[in-house]
């Protein structure tokens, strides 16, 4: 008898983040609690759930911006160290955000410096990595403006002269220019009109694939979650009630709350 000739694909990827029993509560069931998961390299993990369920709180804890009351977050860094995020110094955490991570805020005003030029916004994170060559910084600025479909001719304009959708694309360029290993996004397409949203989503999808990014994405929009994420966590009242493969969670939800969430939208 022949045996199967099908080679086994490599199904494992290195871990990037390990989240152990993390809780951060502002009041009973307000915030996040007892959160456990592992994020692998190259994965896009979506966090969905109703308003106030604790998505942004969890994201802030993961991104080193808010210490948990309990539990810990382990980050496996580029040089193979495992860092306990809240055991290292504040300065070290900030350095991670600057050097290895990226953070995309829902409101581009929180992620951009509105008064300085678009080019300077993009160049700033490169300079933090040690690049000083003016011509190269400018070239990178123009290149990235092109990648997010902004007119490179506007490199000297300040973001406050841009529309909301343009500002959001600039924020993405500014964040991704350093090719971060891990990107945190909080409602990256919230507050934009539908056609601008579609364009931005397509852009994020392409960049994630081309740069092999690992992403933690917070969104209340299940269609956005379906389009971008490989896996989902469903949160309700500070807890994860269901976790799994994105299309399994959306098409065959097991938990009563997830079923309600999925059935309340037209076509997630």
């Amino acid at each position: 008898m022949n045996r199967s000739v099908l080679p086994r694909p490599d199904l494992e990827r290195p871990a990037l983040l390990d989240v152990h029993n993390v809780s951060r509560l502002y009041g009973p069931d307000k915030g996040c609690q007892e959160i456990n998961f592992r994020l692998h390299a190259g994965e896009v993990l979506g966090i969905v759930g109703e308003s106030g369920s604790g998505k942004s709180t969890l994201l802030r804890v993961l991104a080193g911006l808010e210490a948990p009351d309990a539990g810990h977050v382990a980050y496996h860094s580029a040089n193979d160290d495992t860092l306990d995020l809240y055991a290292i110094s504040e300065a070290r955490r900030r350095a991670l955000l600057r050097l290895e991570w990226g953070l995309i805020h829902q409101n581009p005003r929180d992620g951009l410096r509105m008064g300085v030029s678009a080019g300077a916004n993009i160049g700033e994170r490169l300079m933090a990595l040690g690049q000083r060559h003016y011509g190269q910084l400018r070239a990178a600025g123009q290149d990235w403006m092109g990648q997010v479909e902004l007119d490179p001719g506007r490199i000297d304009d300040a973001p406050r002269t841009f529309s909301g959708g343009m500002q959001q694309r600039l924020q993405i360029a500014r964040t991704l220019v350093t090719r971060p290993r891990l990107v945190f996004m909080d409602e990256p397409t919230g507050g934009l009109d539908v056609s601008v949203q579609a364009r931005l989503l397509d852009m994020i999808r392409t960049l994630v694939r081309q740069l092999g990014l690992s992403v933690v994405l917070v969104t209340h929009d299940l269609a956005v979650a379906r389009l971008l994420s490989h896996r989902l966590l469903v949160m309700r009242r500070s807890r994860v009630v269901e976790a799994g493969l994105t299309d399994q969670i959306l098409d065959d939800p097991q938990h009563a709350y997830t079923q309600l969430l999925v059935s309340s939208v037209l076509t997630p």
Binding site: N2, L6, R8, P9, L11, R231, D247, Q248, Q254
Partner: protein
């Protein structure tokens, strides 16, 4: 040849929490085997659970009980308890799926929709484009549509994009959910040809085809799902290899 896929005593039900916890039993004790280079066709009335079975094999639906195993050269892999992060590489490299309807992604052109499974494996973009265009032209999709997002395409045009996307990756296991449903005779014949070519390179296929004519041209065996929720498969005539 041994089986590439074995399904044993598979059960599936849905609990509808929104409707007082109504339990819907869809599949009871289904078993099947599928070998490389073989096309097994699922049959049975509408609502019997054909699509549900394909979705369970693709990780899209959870199995309640039973086993789904893929057989690799170094041994079997159980899919019913595969962790979520492993499905992504498994779908990229091993299990392909042509859903009944294309899920349209805004702004992504037809040719890019078709290229995507190759790009996900890190293939060269030019190669991927060439292969995608070859498939789209075989399926007679007018060239003026290639660069447009399929959102505004007709049902049959969208389905041909979907078929091209499903076949381009040449996955060892391919699940086909009524790929010929809204196609005309010429395009149906093209899909039949694609299936025959896939068989020849050893692809194992599990498909649903309403069209009797297509079915008779592609099916090596039939798996009728009957009304007692009991799927009974015809057994292999134990061919020596």
């Amino acid at each position: 040849m041994n089986a590439l896929l074995t399904v044993e005593n598979l059960h599936k039900g849905f609990v509808l929490h929104g409707q007082g916890g109504t339990a819907l039993e869809v599949m009871h004790d289904l078993s099947l085997e599928l070998r490389a280079g073989e096309c097994l066709v699922l049959a049975g009335r509408s609502g019997i659970g054909k699509s549900t079975l394909l979705k369970m094999l693709y990780g899209n639906y959870l199995a309640r009980r039973g086993s789904i195993r893929l057989h690799f050269s170094d041994g079997p892999l159980e899919l019913t308890d595969l962790p979520a992060h492993a499905w992504h590489p498994l779908r990229r490299d091993v299990i392909g799926y042509v859903s009944q309807f294309l899920r349209v992604v805004p702004r992504v052109s037809a040719v890019e929709v078709v290229m995507e499974p190759l790009l996900a494996r890190g293939a060269d973009a030019w190669d991927a484009r060439t292969k995608a265009e070859t498939l789209l032209s075989r399926l007679n999709l007018p060239e003026r549509l290639w660069q447009l997002p399929p959102g505004t395409f007709s049902g049959g045009e969208q389905q041909r994009v979907n078929i091209a996307r499903g076949f381009i990756g040449e996955h060892p296991l391919l699940l086909l959910d009524e790929p010929t449903a809204s196609l005309d005779a010429a395009n149906r014949a093209e899909v039949v040809a694609l299936i025959h070519e896939a068989k020849a390179r050893g692809t194992a296929m599990l498909g649903i085809f309403h069209d009797e004519d297509v079915r008779s041209q592609v099916a090596d065996r039939l798996l009728p799902l009957d009304d007692h929720l009991m799927a009974k498969t015809t057994h292999f005539p134990g061919q020596p290899s």
